[in-house]
């Protein structure tokens, strides 16, 4: 069986949104398989609409397909109705490119960007006819690999995945292919379909794990044993001579060498972020202490501006999109952003022989910085549709923002908001976190106060001005200074939400939205859990708990029951403060960051001391560059224009406590 299309056709006539399963996107590939080639299945464990735009998977899909010794296809979590049909007909999960059965691939590569998708990962593996636990897999079952931000603490899924890949995938995907291609050639010398010959085969799955573990950045969880005492880990030891003590993340040094995706997939049906995406830089050193993405992707590596321009121009021409997003963790920081934006807007102008025909092109800048400079850029790119603008001040008081090192002054925020309202925007959305370390009710209520002040500014320009406050519960993440912090309970978060709701009851122009605190509680369990949490995930999945990212399918009780059945508590994993000497479940992994840097940052946070961006100031030796002999790749030697978020921060106007630089002693490292 190489294609299941004829079996799928009658099913597609019956399920919701069948276009999810047909492939056929512009940019999709139809690779020819061969037993000598290593076949990758790139998987996103959520629906097609959520998973297709994932740039990480699209990049790997192209890089693998460019190789002579490998092919790659894609798959996504089937919706409930499709799953039911597949199970009823005893059909496996399939790829969307050639509709090949998933179990005919050699390796599954899951991108994990959200912890609540873990049960979908198990479901995809099971639907492919592969045992969910590594210990039950045979020699010839596909390798289950995971990558993405969640894998900086893969322990909760350690029993289900053969390998975990840390960091940038561009290079390591080829090295893994090399190992697998050689392994397959070796396996092919045994006739595994003949039981006697199979018996005589000396190779084991454990050998494969050990070989893969030789690739830098690859962690094979089954090669390690863990012991516990109550909630804490007492030892974590390799059980194989070739298993490394510490697994370092992979970092590509020059984004300019990787202009991927070259052929971004253009879906036939509507997906999230349905537009051309061009990654302008990777990494961020602003040092927000709650932000895992900023910590684990250091250092900053900018794409050359000319390459950005080419990728925009060629991408628009090829795809026919009328929108391009310049993606990064803080796009306004890109050196020469104004010029790139100006050029791109000019490019789309058909009357001047532009390259996208005559249609108006809009540019979106996700993750806008909060300052008037940024609004200026936004005004440049949103000439037509000035409906809503989004900022993320993250906390309601200057004190709180010093704790989290998001050093936005109130003046910055008001200047940004004023500039936006005065230039025609009418709606503003502000993102905040609640449940941050040291947060008092005064800090929480500061969110409402900021919202009201912003509306007041807006009313000077438009009678209909409104502000939406979007509030999420804070989940401490591994490899951040807050990894030791005991998360607020769901009940406490709900109390804070209620506090805000009551305070804003009379303000019609300030809308409050919040994330379900019970989902936040479970994210906390999965973010910092150890291997014992695996049985919780498995039980929730076995009881039908898939698509847990979807609020309509999330059921807290199902999780709480599973936690209790496993003899564990949410308090131990999510709400307990850790001490400096505690062995954290991810201590054997390295994101490059020295543990003592993170600990010092945690102390500084509690002392309300800020830390400047290291792009334009002396290095603090966090480890991200120093440990790997890397440097920031930044075109401009001067910090971007703007408010206090640039360097040379004029913070005096924001509050009483000026930022203090805290140089770290070079060489000290507890983390590696």
């Amino acid at each position: 069986m190489t294609t299941m299309w004829s079996e799928l056709e009658p099913i597609l006539a019956q399920v919701e949104k069948p276009a999810r399963y047909i492939g056929c996107e512009d940019g999709a590939q139809q690779p020819s398989h061969d037993p000598s080639l290593t076949a990758w299945l790139m998987l996103y464990p959520d629906t097609y609409e959520v998973g297709l735009p994932n740039q990480g998977l699209q990049i790997l899909y192209e890089i693998v397909n460019e190789r002579d010794d490998a092919v790659a296809e894609r798959s996504y979590a089937p919706w409930h109705d499709m799953e039911t049909e597949l199970r009823a007909r005893n059909l496996p999960l399939f790829s969307v490119d050639t509709h090949r059965p998933a179990n005919e691939f050699d390796i599954f590569a899951f991108n994990l960007s959200a912890e609540l998708t873990y049960t979908n990962l198990l479901n995809c593996v099971d639907l492919s006819g592969i045992p969910v636990r590594t210990e039950n897999r045979s020699l010839i079952d596909p390798v289950i690999a995971v990558g993405g931000h969640c894998t900086y603490n893969p322990e909760p899924i350690a029993d289900f995945v053969d390998i975990v890949v840390l960091g940038d995938g561009e290079e390591v995907v080829g090295e893994i292919t090399d190992v697998l291609t050689a392994w397959k050639a070796e396996l092919a010398t045994f006739d595994l379909s003949d039981p006697a010959a199979a018996e005589a085969c000396p190779l084991t799955r454990r050998d494969l794990w050990a070989r893969l573990a030789q690739v830098e950045g690859v962690y094979a969880p089954a090669l390690y044993d863990v012991t516990y005492d109550g909630p804490v880990i007492t030892s974590f030891t390799p059980n194989h001579p070739d298993a490394p003590e510490t697994i370092e993340k992979r970092t590509i040094t020059d984004l300019g060498e990787w202009p991927y995706p070259k052929n971004q997939l253009v879906p036939l049906t509507e997906v999230v972020h349905d537009r051309l995406n061009v990654e302008v830089f990777r990494g961020c050193t602003r040092g927000c202490r709650f932000c895992q993405a900023g910590m684990i992707t250091r250092p900053v590596r900018e794409r050359p501006a000319d390459q950005v321009r080419t990728m925009i121009q060629d991408g628009l021409k090829r795809t026919g999109y009328d929108e391009v997003a310049l993606t990064s963790l803080s796009t306004a920081d890109f050196s020469g952003i104004e010029q790139v934006v100006a050029d791109s807007v000019g490019q789309s102008d058909g009357n001047e022989g532009g390259d996208n025909g005559c249609s108006p092109v809009s540019i979106s800048l996700p993750s806008l910085r909060v300052d008037a400079f940024t609004v200026g850029i936004a005004a440049e790119v949103q000439k037509a549709r000035r409906t809503g603008l989004t900022f993320a001040p993250e906390a309601g008081s200057w004190r709180m923002r010093q704790v989290i090192n998001k050093l936005i002054t109130e003046e910055d925020l008001y200047a940004a908001v004023e500039s936006a309202f005065s230039q025609g925007w009418r709606r503003m959305k502000l993102y905040f976190l609640i449940g941050l370390p040291t947060e008092t009710d005064e800090d929480t209520l500061g969110i409402a106060r900021l919202g009201r002040n912003c509306v007041e500014i807006g009313k000077r320009y438009h009678q209909s001005a409104s502000v939406t406050l979007s509030v999420g519960g804070f989940v401490p993440k591994p490899f951040t200074p807050f990894q030791w912090f005991g998360q607020n309970t769901g009940i406490e978060l709900q109390r804070k939400v209620n506090l805000l709701r009551d305070d804003l009851r009379k303000d019609k122009s300030v809308k409050l939205k919040w994330h379900d605190p019970s989902a936040t509680a479970i994210e906390g369990l999965l973010s910092r859990g150890d291997r014992r949490v695996g049985q919780v995930i498995e039980q929730v999945w076995r009881n039908g708990g898939t698509f847990q990212e979807w609020s309509e399918f999330f059921e807290l009780d199902r999780w709480l029951d599973a936690v209790a059945d496993a003899g564990l508590t949410l308090e131990d994993y999510a709400n307990r403060h850790r001490t400096e000497d505690e062995h954290l479940p991810w201590d054997h992994l390295s994101a490059g960051l020295h543990k003592d840097f993170l600990w010092q940052e945690w102390r500084d946070a509690l002392a309300e001391v800020g830390l400047e961006d290291c792009r334009w100031t002396p290095c603090y030796d966090c480890g991200a560059c120093t440990g790997y002999a890397l440097e920031h790749v930044v075109a401009s030697a001067t910090p971007p224009a703007g408010g206090s978020q640039g360097t040379g921060q004029d913070l005096a106007r924001g509050g009483a406590v000026p930022v203090t630089l805290s140089p770290r002693p070079v060489g000290a490292s507890a983390g590696s």
Binding site: K17, P18, A19, V266, G320, G357, S359
Partner: protein, 243 residues
């Protein structure tokens, strides 16, 4: 290769193979991108979010194939378009299974919308694992029926319609392997129904395994024409042939 300055173009295209599982809405978006890729000087609507001026004909149910879908587009006044190249260019920019077969300018002033103009559609329907006898019985039952009722929800309320008056012609075609084949001609005014709805009115078990719209007709006092005549050689992709 004579450049002409049309204002409105009518395009005829196919929808076949895997891509037939895209919805009507998806198809509109696919078209919008393909037209941009071919850098046609589209006319845009005014306002804050300008959209290209495009008008589709009768919607095709997700999963149904077609040899005869239509689309009208407006171009900037005075635009020059090379038709000979354009059909191929568009087909290349569209997914496999959507192929442009004919393009012609239409006078914009007298143009009636496609939905209003079309009076009937011809459909070919395949029924997997249905014998020729069963197919013949079904056809007789449908033709003999006084009423063929279907219930639709409109504005939250159930409404029952009689589909029988729309059944203009029905015949049994040569079977292909174990699949019986029927051809329906169904009227579309004031309201059209689908062949699967008619079949279900006789026997809910009769679910077509494949449905293809082969013609859309405009009846003008007994003279039948198509919005655009079919191309000299029917454009079918390999996938259509396989299906």
């Amino acid at each position: 290769m004579t450049p002409v300055p049309p204002v409105r173009l009518r395009l005829r295209y196919t929808k076949a193979g895997k891509v037939r599982f895209t919805s009507h809405r998806d198809t509109a978006r696919i078209w919008e991108r393909a037209l941009r890729r071919c850098r046609l000087p589209l006319a845009y609507t005014e306002g804050f979010s300008p959209r290209p001026k495009m008008h589709f004909g009768l919607a095709l149910r997700t999963g149904f194939a077609s040899d005869c879908e239509y689309l009208d587009i407006n171009l900037e006044p005075g635009s020059e378009v090379d038709f000979a190249e354009l059909a191929q260019q568009l087909s290349d920019a569209l997914p496999v299974g959507i192929d442009v077969t004919t393009i012609a300018p239409t006078p914009s002033i007298s143009a009636v919308s496609l939905q209003e103009a079309v009076t009937s559609c011809r459909w070919e329907v395949e029924l997997a694992n249905v014998s020729t006898e069963k197919a013949n019985e079904t056809v007789e039952a449908l033709l003999a029926a006084d009423k063929l009722e279907v219930t639709r929800f409109r504005k939250g309320r159930e409404k029952t319609y009689d589909m029988r008056p729309t059944l203009l012609a029905l015949e049994v075609l040569e079977p292909v392997q174990d699949r019986a084949r029927l051809a329906f001609e169904l009227g579309t005014q004031p309201r059209g129904f689908r062949p699967d709805e008619l079949l279900a009115a006789i026997d809910p078990e009769l679910v077509p395994s494949y449905v293809c719209r082969t013609h859309q007709w405009i009846d003008n006092d007994g003279v039948r024409t198509e919005p655009l005549s079919a191309p000299p050689s029917p454009a079918t992709t390999d996938e259509v042939a396989a299906a």
